[in-house]
């Protein structure tokens, strides 16, 4: 990446954000699609 702001921790944070988003979606869809009880 080029630009005036490119610390490594932001790149790591972007990857973490993607993983967190996917995990949250898996959890949420699994929760709401599970049969009641």
């Amino acid at each position: 990446m080029t630009g005036r702001f490119e610390p490594a921790w932001v790149r790591v944070a972007v990857v973490v954000a993607v993983v967190v988003g996917i995990v949250l979606a898996v959890w949420l869809f699994g929760t709401i699609s599970a049969p009641p009880g």
């Binding site: 005036r4 702001f5 972007v14 954000a17 949420l28 709401i32």
Partner: protein, 225 residues
């Protein structure tokens, strides 16, 4: 290094996470509908043959409108960060179409019951092309970077570089240098030109002498001989 506003970083990361969340949610919702045969409905005044699961009813609007909101949040935060961070939002397009195209192809070739479903396979091919071709073009442009001649697109920025000196085209022939041309002395140049014309027969000897005298008089300021 400029320290960005914390708000831009937070908005960017929340937007990234939101996009991943919404695309994944849409992916699961699509698979739930494909499990039912590819269509379902809910609500309205009509009798519904295939009722949508509650999870699909809840997740589909959230994934679509939430995804749009997350994309704008990512763009806004990326604009605050500067550089090429904002261009990472482009990956949402291939992520969306490749993931949904995968669903179409998987369920088209391996449906829950029966033979191939050609309509899903066609949709899958189209979706993979819509997501894969822009991604491929972007990856090629990034790989080539500034090494291509003249112009390249690196991380969303146009990079223009001067062309390296190239060999002359084989169709072009170097002009034969004219004797005396470019000698730097206008008097010598003109006299040599007149001599050439006389040798070629374009000027008679009398005309040559007249032109020579006029040239000498003009350029030296002296009397013509």
């Amino acid at each position: 290094m400029t320290r960005p506003p914390a708000l831009s970083v937070a908005a960017y990361l929340v937007g990234v996470a939101g996009l991943a969340f919404c695309i994944t949610l849409l992916w699961f919702g699509m698979r739930a509908v494909l499990d039912l045969g590819g269509y379902c409905a809910s609500g309205g005044p009509y009798e519904i043959s295939v009722q949508c699961p509650d999870a699909v009813i809840a997740s589909t609007p959230l994934s679509i409108f939430g995804g749009i909101a997350a994309l704008f949040l990512m763009l806004w935060g990326g604009a605050g960060l500067g550089g090429s961070w904002i261009s990472l939002a482009f990956l949402a397009w291939p992520a969306l179409f490749l993931s949904l195209g995968w669903n179409f192809l998987q369920y088209g070739f391996f449906p829950p019951d029966g033979d191939w479903v050609w309509s899903w396979i066609v949709c899958g091919v189209l979706f993979v092309a819509m997501g894969g071709i822009p991604l491929w073009v972007a990856l090629v442009a990034l790989r080539d970077g500034p090494h291509t001649d003249g112009r390249s697109y690196a991380a969303g920025r146009v990079v223009i570089r001067p062309r390296p000196p190239s060999a002359p085209s084989p169709g072009l022939v170097e002009p034969t240098p004219v004797p005396g041309a470019g000698s730097g002395d206008p008097l010598v140049d003109r006299l040599e030109r007149l001599a050439e014309l006389r040798r070629a027969g374009d000027l008679t000897t009398a005309e040559f002498e007249t032109a020579k005298a006029a040239t000498l008089a003009e350029l030296t300021g002296g009397p013509a001989r």
